[in-house]
């Protein structure tokens, strides 16, 4: 036991004295929270719009006021004619133009129909799509308002509810995603690098000649990283709760349990990488290209897995991060308990067992 502690202590000293690993351990998580929390957001605020109103009556004015008071839009200017639409888009002055037909109010009152054209700049498809959705929603809203006073026609009025994230806040998406990425980064990447570092320096040989059992060496090496990963995960949760007001509806106990499980999965993956390679450079490349990129792109953190083409969905399904992301979102946002996420939990256990098994096999092959 004392042998073990002496070794764990040495590992902490390594981390504390290496500026590079300190930056990865503490700098990156903080930077990412700040960037994702404050700077990068997929919500739309104050998008510039142009209005082309051929009618200029009371109704169109009401609709325009409603749009502008929503907080999503800011008026760039009223346009004078069709020709200006192309121009303002090209110059990048506006993201959207709303066109009201001539005699809008008169048409609406006489025929019950009037048209609005919504034109969006879809050079960024996400923004374009979101803006169209916002505008249509606001117009629908107005539509139902005037119909409330007019019960003559039969109409179906859908009532919309966005469950679990009624305000559609981006941080609800980013906080769980960040935890996944940070845990992958710290547990898998840092572990594989620190083990291959010992191999590269030749110190692994010295350790294997010593009475320390190889399994003890590995455990002692991963303990500091698992502790730091855990601290990182908890800090992100706390920041999420107190700074960005992301709720945790489910049990904290279950959430932290799942965090520990995922740390173990990531560590076993890191160990597996390090049994496959003996240079830090290669370990870093494998971790970054084979682990970080797919985790960010394919886990469902940014792009929904359901919308991916089948081959990519297959790859996404063999990323442990995908399953953990489902678990952590379910617990935090939906308040799910284990009966809803036991399948995903089992998948993580499966991955962990697989990586540990493969590592042991590789390790034995190397010794004989």
């Amino acid at each position: 036991m004392e042998r073990f502690l002496a070794f764990v202590k040495k590992e902490f000293i390594h981390i504390m004295r290496d500026k590079r690993s300190l930056i990865i351990l503490f700098g990156i998580p903080i930077a990412q929270i700040l960037i994702f929390g404050f700077a990068i957001t997929n919500e739309i605020k104050d998008a510039k719009i142009g209005i082309l109103d051929f009618s200029k009556d009371a109704t169109t004015e009401k609709i325009v006021n409603k749009l502008l008071s929503s907080g999503y839009y800011q008026l760039y200017s009223y346009l004078k004619d069709d020709g200006q639409i192309e121009q303002v888009f090209r110059e990048g002055k506006v993201k959207q133009v709303v066109v009201f037909q001539e005699k809008f109010e008169i048409n609406l009152k006489q025929t019950g129909k009037a048209s609005i054209q919504i034109i969006s700049d879809a050079s960024d498809p996400n923004t374009g799509n979101t803006l169209i959705n916002y505008t249509s929603a606001i117009i629908n809203d107005y539509n139902s308002e005037i119909n409330r006073n007019n019960l003559s026609g039969l109409r179906i009025i859908p009532e919309l509810r966005m469950r679990y994230n009624p305000e559609l806040k981006g941080v609800y998406l980013f906080i769980p995603g960040l935890i996944v990425i940070i845990l992958m980064l710290v547990s898998a990447m840092m572990t594989s690098i620190s083990i291959t570092k010992e191999k590269e320096l030749g110190s692994m040989e010295i350790l294997l000649v010593s009475p320390l059992k190889p399994i003890i060496v590995i455990i002692a090496k991963v303990i500091p990283y698992s502790l730091l990963s855990f601290v990182n995960a908890v800090s992100i949760l706390l920041l999420g709760k107190f700074v960005f007001e992301v709720p945790v509806h489910g049990s904290y106990f279950l959430l932290l349990g799942e965090v520990i499980l995922f740390i173990t999965t990531a560590l076993s993956f890191g160990i597996f990488i390090s049994t496959k390679t003996s240079s830090q450079q290669v370990a870093l490349m494998i971790s970054l290209v084979g682990l970080m990129l797919p985790t960010i792109l394919l886990s469902g953190f940014i792009f929904p897995v359901e919308n991916m083409p089948i081959p990519l969905q297959v790859i996404a399904n063999i990323m442990p991060a995908r399953w953990f992301l489902i678990i952590i979102r379910d617990i935090m946002l939906k308040g799910s308990d284990i009966t809803f996420i036991w399948k995903e939990t089992l998948v993580l256990f499966g991955f962990t067992a697989l990586f540990i098994g493969l590592s042991i096999k590789n390790f034995k092959v190397r010794l004989t």
Partner: protein
Amino acid sequence: MDEKWIVEVEGMTKKFGDFTAVDSISFRVKKGEIFGFLGANGAGKTTAIKILCGLSRPTSGKVTVDGLNVYTQAEKIKEKIGYMSQKFSLYDDLNIEENIRLFGGIYGLSNKEIKEKSEILINKLGLQDVRKELLKSLPLGWKQKLAFSVAIIHDPSIVFLDEPTGGVDPITRRQFWEMIYEASSKGVTIFVTTHYMDEAEYCSRISMMVDGRIAAMGKPSELKKELGVRNMDEFFVKLARSK
């Protein structure tokens, strides 16, 4: 088992696929002697030393270290041996005291023992002023001397030195050999590989490996007489030509 021998090797062979790195070699190392294990790069020295340390298993043959069988008692062997290689000398980002404490701890010394030994060791090597310095700030020669002292901190019965003086200046090499003599006089058996032929003269007995076999073995003086050469350099050249 004969009490006199600390390492006994009979017909030890190690194959990697079709390649035979060590080809049925036999030798014995006496307790307390300085055994020089010589040979060109790729002759099989490192493979043999790895087997003796329990890092690798022989394909066939009988091998015991301090009376323990390498096939079945490798873990026990590890408690009894010290090991130092040229490639690695302690951790660069730990200071001198921390390095001593770490390896003392790994070899199961108590805190009290570690403290006592650190004092003795630091005083003996004259490192009092730099004890808190990170290892990377020390010259290579000092690191190697410290690494040797740390390799025998747990009083092993035998210490394996794999080219311990590679890349070190002649004066430090001389001092290093004085340390080896001192350890040997206290009863630690030294098993050393080197390709500096002048160092071979310092050994009690040497064996010379060529292509996985032992080509010659004996006291340096006897070997020189046998082949009629003045020094080990000539001995080596003559031996290699006769092949």
